[in-house]
Amino acid sequence: MAKSCYVHIPFCGSICYYCGFCKSVSSNAVKEKWIDQIHKEIQNKPISSLDTLYFGGGTPNILSKEMFRALSLPLMEFLDSDYEWTVECNPEFITENQLQEFQQLGVNRLSIGVQTFQDSLLQKIGRHHSSKQAMNSINLSREFGFHNLSVDLMYGLPGQSLDNVIRDLETFFSLGIDHLSIYSLQIEENSIFGKKGIRSCDDELEADMFEQIVKMCKNHGFEHYEISSFARNQQYSKHNLSYWTDQDYYGIGCGAVGRENGILYENTKDLVSYCDRGPMPSFISETIQERAFDSIMMALRTQFGLDVTAWQKRYGLDFFMQYKNVLKKYLGTYLCFEKNHLFPTEQGMEILNTILVDFLSEN
């Protein structure tokens, strides 16, 4: 039974240029219908208890106080004693009132979409907050008792230099936050950047930036625990670890993806049909082999790696026989095997796709 739950909030104040997710700028009437469907969905799920709850988007903190409460109440009752409840927040919409409400309901982790601390770059990617607003909202969150905070940053943005990235990181370190997610810009076909034909930055520069990020984070006591995630004091994102460690998770709401009994499903991305007819999930049919590969693909993203014994037991396959060629090629420089776990080195993380393609070819 899944112990994690993801809720997708597909609403935004405006659309960022790089975003390829399911999102829209919608009226209150639409939101009313949407929340009704969410409630039905929750009722229909066999949820018994949750270790982690994650509100992602879109922009979850664009919801009104009432709407947010209505969304949270039916889920709160499932939370275990040691739960993690994360809400993704856009600094543009963080207010004292909102933080107070979050605190009262029991939200205990905020993931703040800063993206960069350079105002000119923020404008270029279609964000409407300023660097100052971002810092203020982080300080405010602390004042309201949120200590498990994460910041999202981006690199490889159009016009961003290595120096810009270094300065962003220095600003981040000065804030004393224990978790960082840092993503290179991906040009998604269905994003505004994609439609405008904006190209991603030079590979070599992007690689320089990534290596610099890893180096600086390690110097500041952060573990590089997943390709794009860094944490201090073991403040990992428990919820995200459920994806990377082959666990089930409920997916709720328009545009959400979930996994129950090992089977992935995608809810409709069309907000109008969701409001009328509910999630209409499409199930992704996968063979055991394919699921076994998914498990490798996700596990090798983390420093914890793949528990090979558990994997063999779960999928009834012989790992070393099946992948002997891949292991021969990459063990040492790119992959390590220790205490029954296969995990990537720093070099391995950088070219994980290349390695995974070879795994896929052995399927």
Partner: protein
Amino acid sequence: MDQKHIRNFSIIAHIDHGKSTLADRILELTDTVEKREMRDQILDSMDLERERGITIKLNAVQLIYHAKNGEDYIFHLIDTPGHVDFSYEVSRSLAACDGAVLVVDAAQGVQAQTLANVYLALENDLEILPVLNKVDLPSAQPEVVKEEIENLIGLDCSDAIEISAKSGLNVDQVLEQIVEKLPSPSGDPQAPLQALVFDSLYDSYRGVIAFVSVKNGSIKPKDKIRFMATGAEYEVIDVGVRTPKEIVKNSLQTGEVGWISAAIKNIEDVRVGDTITSANAPCEAPLHGYREMNPMVYCGLYPVDNARYEDLKEALSKLKLNDASLTFEPETSQALGFGFRCGFLGLLHMDVVEERLEREYNLDLIATSPSVIYHVFKTDKTMIAIDNPSALPPAQNIDHIEEPYVRAEIMVPKDYVGAMMELCQAKRGEYIDMQVIDDLRMNMVYELPLSEIIYDFFDKMKSYTKGYASLDYHFSRYKPSALVKMDILLNGQVIDALSTIVFKDFAYNRGNAMTIKLKKIIPKQQFEIPVQAAIGGKIIARTNIKALRKNVLAKCYGGDISRKKKLLEKQKEGKKRMKKVGSVEIPQEAFMAVLSMDDE
């Protein structure tokens, strides 16, 4: 029906002058194809033809025409390709005909291939019926073009019909003129059977189907037939015609054009150009057949997956059945393994064959860059002909090398004569002659190395003249040239399949362009790869493909799993189409890089 009521004809034209459109209209007007089955380019049955809007293969159909004199006529219409590479197909169809409808675009006028096809028709003693197409275009100048036809070709155009094949305007008059002006076949129905094989194809149920034009005698099921060139004998199972649907008939009579099926399993037995006669009462001598065409361009074709060598061999044999100008011989490459050195009439032909092999036979292929045949005179006074650069003997054993030249005729508007002269000179051309066609156009005659024509001459010509020039060429002779072999090294290793023979003075530029192009095509790998061009061990150009440092998807949460996997699947497919040579993985297109590089 008696012979007097049969007309066998082709439609000939320069590419894009409206051949296939006219054929479509004729099929409609004669109710050969019902309206609901009609589609554009109906005779072009290959997907490839329809996609590219060109005719590659000839196609023969029978249709019935109710003439205005109240009598019915049988027409055999043979649609033909217009591109210079496929003039062989044209000459085959013409041999099966008695007349030809010459279509000339009333806006563009006579073009290089108009002339080339007319000469082919004249060689076959065909009556030619000129027709001006696209007269509804604002830029049409039918009177000027008629004069051009009279001056350049010497055909009387006083009765030439002005049509629009697109709208159907005056196409009915073309049909009338076919009846009035083109001759009927002149064979002897009582003579022993003589049927010219002008095409064939392989049907997996019925074996080889031969397409024939019955010149004398007749043929029916159960007849014993003999293929005169190969001596192979078979009993006829079925005969028939195409309308373009296949229709079984009781017999094929003198003057008729149709197909024969005789459970022929051995592909080698049927040769296009051969004569079929009766095994019991054979004729004395085979029909004339027609000029054999020799391939001009060669390249290596290799299966990406070496295990599919035999499949490639079988596919090539089957393709050769209805593409007699294709040749192939086994060859081996250190880099690519076992494959075939194939000969083609030109680059488009090569492209089409490669694509047909991939599509119709589901093969993944690597094609090496095209080469011509070089005559290599060695110091021991012997001469060898090589069609593969990697077969060139060491420089110290070579006295000199000769390469094939063509006589190229380029029709070009006066404004572009200067530009074309520059291009011809840059491509080592020798000026031969220049004629004035009319107030606007000139005909330039140059002798050019064939290797330059296949390299990028055609594309350059188009861009130099905004597409207004047209080109025709024929082999002229072999001439000595200062040629060298340029090798390409990846990670220090010579890749034999990437070697080319180049003109010495062009070597530095091409070497440079080639290394830069390869750097773009070959994906980064885990280590740095030096890319070098060398002549006789001396490096003339070098660049590096930097090591791959980052290939990873930044975000991957629950929602990204299937998307991410699609991305990996795509990379996996791309990888499958790469050839691993030594430690380097090389994509297919790298072996053709020489064709798409810019060396200026």
